[in-house]
C-alpha cells in the first residue's frame, strides 16, 4: 500500500446526498397533482399549454446556454422545466399558444438568463413571463373559459375573485362556495384552481424540507388577518379569509412561487418579513386595488426587497453582544 497515491482534500470529508437537481425534481413531482387536476378540469387545452411552455422554455434555456458557452447538461437540472410548468399553471386556459411561447421566452431570457442563470435571478422567472403577458396582452390574459366539468357554454365567464370584485357577488348571493374552491371546480388559471391538489403537492415539499415552511405560513397568516379584519367589520361587503386563501392564485403562489429558493430571503427573520409582506400586499390589491387578483404583483414586489432583507436581517452570531445590523 505504500505506493498508493493519497488524496489531499479540504475538510469536511463527508457530503450529504441531496443536490440541486434532486431539489428541482422534487418540486416538479410536487407540482404534478395540480398539473393532473388542471388536465382533468380543462382537458386538451391544459395539455397543449403545458407542452408548449415546456418546449419553449427548454429551447430558450438551451439557446442561452449555448450563447453563454455553459455546459448543456444544465438544461436538465430541472429549473427550466419548473419555470415552464409554473408559467403554464398561471395562464388562462383559453390562451392562444403563440402567447404562451412569448411568455416562456420572456420568462427564461429576461426572467433568468440575463441575470446569469439559475441562482442569480432577482425575480421569479415564471412570474416575469406572466407579468409581461399581463401587461402586453391584457385582454387575452383576463378572458376565462369555464372548466369542462361545469358544462357551461358561454362566451363570458368570471373567476371567483373577478366575480367578487366586479359583479357584487356577495350582494347578489353568487359568491363561489368554499367547497368548489377546495376541489377546483371553478374558473381561473390552469393550475391555481384546485386547492386540494396544491395541498397534496406542498405536503411533499414540507415533508422533504425542500421549502421553508415560514413562507406559506406567513403569507396565509397575514392575508387571513388582513382580510379577516375587514370581513368582521363588514361581512356583507368583504369575503371571508377562507375564501381569500382558497380563491385565485394565493395557494400556488404561497406554496410554489414565493418559496422559490433563489428569490426568497436566506435569513429566518427576512423570510418572515417577506412572507408577511406578500400576504398584506395581496390583501391590499384584492380589497382596494384595481385588479381582482394580486398574488403575482405581491410576490414580484417582495422579490425586489430580498437583497435588502438579507442584508438587514442577519441573525445574531452566537456570543454577539450588540444588536445585529
Amino acid at each position: 500500500m505504500l505506493n498508493n497515491e493519497y488524496v489531499i482534500q479540504s475538510s469536511p470529508h463527508l457530503k450529504d446526498k441531496d443536490s440541486v437537481r434532486k431539489i428541482m425534481y422534487t418540486v416538479i413531482i410536487a407540482l404534478l397533482p395540480a398539473v393532473f387536476a388542471s388536465v382533468y378540469f380543462f382537458r386538451l387545452r391544459a395539455v397543449a399549454l403545458y407542452l408548449t411552455c415546456l418546449v419553449a422554455c427548454l429551447a430558450t434555456e438551451a439557446l442561452f446556454l449555448w450563447i453563454r458557452k455553459k455546459p448543456i447538461q444544465s438544461l436538465w437540472d430541472g429549473s427550466a422545466a419548473i419555470t415552464a410548468l409554473l408559467l403554464a399553471m398561471t395562464l388562462p386556459p383559453g390562451l392562444s399558444l403563440d402567447l404562451a411561447v412569448i411568455g416562456s421566452v420572456v420568462a427564461i431570457s429576461i426572467g433568468k438568463q440575463v441575470f446569469g442563470g439559475l441562482g442569480h435571478n432577482i425575480f421569479n422567472p415564471a412570474l416575469v413571463g406572466r407579468a409581461f403577458l399581463q401587461t402586453a396582452f391584457a385582454e387575452a390574459m383576463t378572458t376565462w373559459v369555464p372548466p369542462v366539468t361545469l358544462h357551461i357554454d358561454t362566451g363570458t365567464f368570471a373567476t371567483p375573485l373577478g366575480n367578487l370584485k366586479f359583479q357584487e357577488a356577495i350582494a347578489q348571493g353568487t359568491l363561489t362556495s368554499l367547497k368548489d374552491l377546495f376541489w377546483g371546480n371553478v374558473g381561473g388559471c390552469l393550475g391555481e384552481t384546485s386547492a386540494i391538489a396544491l395541498f397534496l403537492g406542498v405536503l411533499i415539499l414540507l415533508a422533504k424540507k425542500t421549502i421553508d415552511w415560514r413562507i406559506p405560513t406567513g403569507i396565509i397568516l397575514s392575508l387571513s388577518i388582513f382580510t379577516g379584519i375587514f370581513w368582521l367589520i363588514k361581512p356583507n361587503q368583504y369575503a371571508s379569509p377562507a375564501f381569500h386563501v382558497l380563491a385565485g392564485g394565493l395557494l400556488i403562489g404561497a406554496f410554489f412561487m414565493a418559496t422559490d429558493m433563489v428569490t426568497s430571503p436566506i435569513t429566518p427573520k427576512g423570510t418572515w418579513i417577506f412572507a408577511l409582506g406578500i400576504g398584506i400586499i395581496v390583501g391590499l390589491i384584492r380589497l382596494f386595488g384595481g385588479f381582482a387578483e394580486g398574488v403575482m404583483y405581491a410576490i414580484l414586489f417582495m422579490n425586489t426587497f430580498v437583497p435588502l432583507l438579507n442584508r438587514y436581517s442577519r441573525p445574531r452570531i452566537l456570543g454577539e453582544r450588540r444588536a445585529p445590523s
Binding site: 482534500q9 475538510s11 463527508l14 457530503k15 450529504d16 441531496d18 429558493m261 433563489v262 456570543g319 454577539e320
Partner: protein, 417 residues
Amino acid sequence: MPPPEKVSIPLLQHFGSPAKPLVKKGEDVYLGQKIGESTGLFSAAVHSSVSGKILSVDGAHHPLGKPVTAVTIANDGEDRPAPDLLGAEHPFSLKPEEICQIVQEAGIVGLGGAAFPTAVKLRPPKDKPIDTVIINGCECEPVLTADYRIMLEFSEDILNGAELVRKATGAERTIIGIEDNKKDAYKAFHEVKGNGHAEIVLLQTKYPQGAEKNLIYALLRREVPRGGLPFDVGVVVQNVGTAKAIWDAVSAGKPLYERALTVAGDGVRDPKNLMVRVGTPFQAVLDLCGGIKDNTNLLIMGGPMMGLSQWSPEVPVIKGTSGILAWPAATPPMEHNCIRCSRCVQHCPMRLIPTQLMKYVKYEFLSEAEDWGILDCVECGCCQYICPARIPLVHWIRLGKNQVTGLKRKKRVEDAQ
C-alpha cells in the same frame, strides 16, 4: 496497542511554539522521560513514549503538514519507566497551583483534537472567576468513538480527574455532558462513585456539540462572547480523555505519552479503538487493524468533518490525533451556482451566513466578510456537508479567515510604526 519498534515524536503538536529538545542523538531515554521542554505559555512539554535509544533529532513527517523537529527513538521493548515519575499520595489535598504544575510538567493538552495546553485552561485570569467545570463527553465528531470507550472503561478516573480540575480552578459545579446515543456511558458514570459531586447530563445527539462554545450554550445557555474564551463566562471545558490524563498524571505521575483513538472508515479492514503511544506511525496502527483495502486513497487524521487528509501513512500519532480514518475518496462533485436554499444558514452552529461569506471572499470584500463574522466560523463543516450545490464553503471561508487575519496583522504592524 503494543508500542511500535520506532516512534517519532514531534516537538510541536498543536498551534503555538515548539518545545526545546532536551536530548541528543545516541542518548538512552526512559519511558515517560521529558524530551522537550515547553518554551512559553502556548507550549507543552513532550515526553518519550517508549524506552530506548534516540536515533535522531531532526525534521520528520508531521500530520499537520508543518516542518517540525521530531525526536525519533528506537524502542528497546522494555518500557523502563523514568525513575522520577511518582504520583501524589493524597491527590485531593493538593493545592490548585500544585495540580497545575503537575499537569504542565506532564505535557497534558486537550485531547479532543485541538490540543490546547491544559495548564493554561487551569489558570484562569484573576478577574474571571470560574464557577463551572464542564467535562466534554460529547465526542467531537461523528464516526469517532474513542471518547465513548474511555467513558466506559475509565469512568472513575474521569470523575477523579474532573474533581481535580474543579479544585484547580476553584469552581463550584462540575457537569459531565454526554450525548443521548451514549446511554451506556451515562449509566457507567452513575455506577461508579467518584470522589466528587459531578452532575451527569444527557444531551440530544447533535454535531458539533463537542465544540466548546456550543456545549457551553447547550448546557448552561451561556454564550461565549465573540473572540472570547470560556473563561469569559466562568467556565472551563475539558475533554473526558484530558480528565483521565490529568488523573493519571497527578495520582500516578504518568505524563501524557499515549492516547485513545478511533481507527475506522470503509477502507480499514478491522476498525478498532486503540490506546496508542504518541509517535507511533499511522502505518503501524493501520497494520494492527488488518491494513487498509486496495482502493483506499484517503487517509484522515481526526474526524470526517474537520480532520486533515494525510499524504503519507508514515506520519506519527500526536497528542491531538483523535482518530485515523481511511476510505476511497469520492470524485469531487460538480459545483453548481448557489441557489440560496439557505440550508447552510439553517445549519450553522454559530448562526453565520456561510453562502454570503463565501461570496464576500470570492469577490474579495474582506472587510464585509469580517463584519459578517467570518472569524467566528469554527470550520465544523456542516454548511459544506449540507450544500446541495456542492460549493466548498469551508474552503472559501478558511481562505477568507487567513486573508482577514493577515490584513489585521499587517494593520497592527503599520499602526505600531
